[in-house]
Amino acid sequence: MSFVVRYLTGGFRSSERRLILLAALVLLPVFFLPVLPIWEMHLRAPQYPEGLKLTIYSNTIRGDLDKVNSLNHYVGMHAITPEDFAEFRYLPQLLTGFGFLALLAGLLNRRWIAALGWLLFTGFAVYMFRDYVLWLYRYGHELDPRAAITMKSFMPPVIGYSKMANFHVLSLPGPGTVVLGIAWLLGPLALWMERRAERAHAHAAAAATVAA
């Protein structure tokens, strides 16, 4: 317990601080522009040998939307349009907000800000993942009963592969998520480095005592 309190109230070692600033650097700029995909869905069917692709960014969804919507209307699925997602209007700001927290923690040299930011970030990630799963569920389940092709409601793959009608679908996190994951991992990494340094220090102190 005393370690936790000591840890949280303290400042950073220079190596930790570098990690925190790195996290800030990663989070701050890249998510305002749709450059790093967060999630990617690849679809392939016999008549689409080149494949269709949907790419989700922090602020929009791109790719073969028109084509996918044209096909989905046969089974009565909602058309996918970026305007339907309120998430795209706050996600870039939130991600950048986390970047600011990391930057603040680094600049002010306050470990507790970093810890708080990391916890919020973790909660946020869990929430967004749940949100994504829910969207997929809705697309697969709220099918228009008057559609030309009656299909049993289904769950599109959140991650990994599945076959839906004549389509092979592969759903994978994109580079954006990898970057976010690395930023997130920097938290535990810092903690682990801290512990190791602490131990080494204690060891050295003990050795010094023995030597004395």
Partner: protein, 633 residues
């Protein structure tokens, strides 16, 4: 056995196996079998596009080479229901009511004397028209003509090295302007030939640059100078006898006919200076008055083709009735002109002496028609009578080095890039006039024949023999990587004034007796799908295909009518239909588009004349609700 020995054995087996496999593939690929050289695996692309003129079909045929697979037809001068060409208002306006054409000579646009892949020009001989096909979407974008005063544009279009000009010359001289009442016996006195230079703007737009009054010979074929001869266009002629009947005999009497050399820069300069007399609504330059624009060079015995070699130094013309190719030197031609060393004048055109210009005579064989080049110092001449192609060396000793049989009666031949400054030099296509017994018999109307020939080695090698639909004359072949055809028309770029891009714009609008029906087409419905009009209305259907998916063309065909058009993804087309009788007429998608293609239909409801109909009607809210999400773009 020790472990290392096992490992060594395994490695040896692997290496041996790999070597064996490599041997096998070599056997298939490099073994030189003609089958392997033309085989393109399913799903793979050919390395060349070949554009074969469609002759009196009026179209252009696209083939993939070396597989010789027919890929598509580009409709040009003739209505073609398969692509809706000549059925929608825009293409109808381009065809101007003409229902046939005779397309002879495709000419790819060039930059610095090499194909640039922008456009393909092609002539319609009988109506003196030149079409420009855009190679980004393989459709005809412009039909220029009928060119005034030109009667049978056979020597056409043969673009210049930077596509500054395409040309046209009269094959059948007539009294000008057309039509003029005269006796054919007055041929030599009254009839005139014309050479026209048609300017091509950087955007490809064609306009008349100049016309030159020529003696009433039959102006036959053309080619553009290049390199040192850039700025000149060469034309052959027969019938310098000026015969007006029984040409077969009477036009074959003279020992010499001519190649006309036109200095198109000088001609344009004179035209720009306002020289010439008005004939048929345009100014025509008269060589009697305007000097220095055209010269005549004798060529024996009714020459057909004229072809300039890749270096631009040699002008090769073949007398049909002589067993030789006559090679003239451009440098000697220039020297003669500069020294004003002329034999005589014909209707104001200076004539050079044959021997002053001659570089060589190449004894190729019987019935030489056309010559092409491989860029490696060789020329290839088609021999109509011998049904052969002769390969000969450009330069001393000017001898024939190889011959190959073709089937049968070859007209043009085409080496890939063979009329450019840098021919590709690997393939040649023989375009034969007769197929006779080469393919499964299909009755008296035979297909034409073509052969693909490998010219990469010292000996010509026949690779493939394939039938063609009537009737390719000349062809062009360009490396596939030079073209980047679009797969769809981006909707965002659709600036058609009748385009609609969302469901709420779909409507039927009445303006007196004219009805404008704005329809959307997307898998698998039209919006609206019921169009209500009154008898006597003229209905313009403006159909926008909202698809942005490749190959999802929607047709729009109206039963019991002459109306069926094809609308490509992202495109808007307009078609006129007259409601002649009251009653119900179905329309449907005539191009299979998807799983529910059969359901893609609608009705035109024609009320008896005088019935009051709303001035604007829109699809029902219920129908809109169904399609609205799909139409949100």
């Amino acid at each position: 056995m020790k472990r290392w020995m096992l490992a060594a054995l395994a490695v040896a087996a692997l290496v041996g196996g790999a070597a064996l496999m490599q041997g096998c593939t070599k056997g298939i690929r490099g073994g030189g079998s003609a089958a392997a050289k033309t085989y393109v695996k399913p799903g793979e692309y050919d390395t060349y596009y070949a554009f074969l003129s469609g002759g009196h079909s009026g179209q252009v045929f696209v083939y993939g080479m070396p597989s010789c697979r027919y890929i598509t037809t580009i409709p040009v001068f003739t209505p073609e229901s398969a692509k809706g060409w000549g059925y929608d208002e825009e293409s109808k306006a381009m065809l101007k009511g003409m229902n046939w054409g005779d397309a002879h000579h495709p000419g790819l646009s060039e930059t610095d004397g090499d194909y640039d892949g922008r456009w393909l020009f092609i002539n319609d001989m009988p109506h003196a028209r030149i079409a420009r096909i855009d190679l980004t979407d393989f459709t005809t974008k412009e039909i220029f003509g009928p060119i005034p005063n030109i009667s049978a544009a056979h020597a056409c279009p043969y673009p210049t090295p930077n596509t500054e000009y395409v040309f046209a010359a009269s094959r059948f001289s007539i009294p000008l302007p057309y039509p003029t009442v005269d006796k054919v016996e007055n041929y030599a006195k009254d009839f005139k030939g014309i050479i026209a230079g048609v300017k091509v703007s950087p955007e490809g737009h064609m306009s008349l640059g100049f016309e030159i009054l020529m003696p009433p010979f039959d102006w036959d074929l053309a080619d553009a100078g290049k390199g040192p001869s850039h700025g000149w266009e060469f034309f052959t002629c027969y019938n310098s006898e000026e015969a007006h009947d029984s040409l077969e005999i009477k036009a074959s009497q003279n020992e010499m006919d001519y190649v006309a050399a036109v200095d198109w820069r000088a001609a344009q300069k004179a035209a720009d200076a306002g020289e010439g007399t008005m004939i048929g609504g345009v100014k025509v330059l008269d060589p009697k008055v305007t000097k220095g624009i055209v010269y005549l060079v004798p060529v024996p015995k009714s020459p057909h083709g004229v072809d300039v070699d890749p270096s631009g130094q040699y002008i090769c013309a073949s007398g049909k009735l002589q067993a030789e190719v006559t090679v003239h030197s451009f440098a000697k031609l220039m020297a003669g002109i500069q020294a004003k060393k002329f034999e005589k004048e014909i209707e104001g055109i200076p004539v050079l002496a044959f021997n002053d210009v001659l570089e060589a005579k190449v004894p190729v064989g019987l019935g030489p028609l056309h010559t092409q080049f491989d860029g490696k110092g060789n020329a290839y001449t088609s021999l109509f009578l011998d049904s052969q192609i002769a390969k000969w060396k450009i330069g001393p000793p000017w001898n024939v080095t190889d011959k190959i049989d073709v089937y049968y009666s070859i007209g043009h031949l085409m080496v890939a890039g063979g009329d450019t400054r840098h021919p590709y030099g690997d393939y040649m296509v023989a375009l034969d006039k007769l197929s006779k017994d080469r393919y499964l018999p299909v009755g008296p109307s035979h297909p034409e024949a073509a052969q693909l020939i490998d010219i990469s080695g010292p000996k010509m090698e026949l690779l493939y023999d394939f039938p063609t639909y009537p009737e390719p004359h000349y062809a062009q072949m360009i490396r596939a990587d030079k073209l980047k055809p679009m797969k769809i028309y981006p909707l965002a770029d659709n600036k058609n004034p009748y385009a609609i891009k969302s469901a709420d714009q779909a409507r039927v609008e009445r303006h007196g007796k004219r009805v404008d029906a704005y329809l959307l087409a997307i898998r698998t419905h039209y919006t609206p799908d019921i169009v209500r009009v009154a008898q006597g209305d003229t209905v313009y259907f403006h159909v926008t295909n909202l698809e942005q998916d490749a190959d999802i063309t929607h047709g729009f065909g109206i039963l019991f009518s002459n109306c069926d058009m094809q609308v490509e993804p992202g495109e808007t087309k307009t078609m006129k239909w007259v409601a002649e009788k009251a009653g119900v007429t179905p329309f449907y998608c005539s191009n299979f588009c998807s799983a529910l293609h059969q359901e893609m239909q609608g009705y035109i409801e024609v009320a008896p004349a005088g019935t009051r109909i709303a001035s604007v009607s829109k699809p029902s809210r219920e129908q809109l609700a169904q399609v609205a999400p799909l139409l949100r773009r």
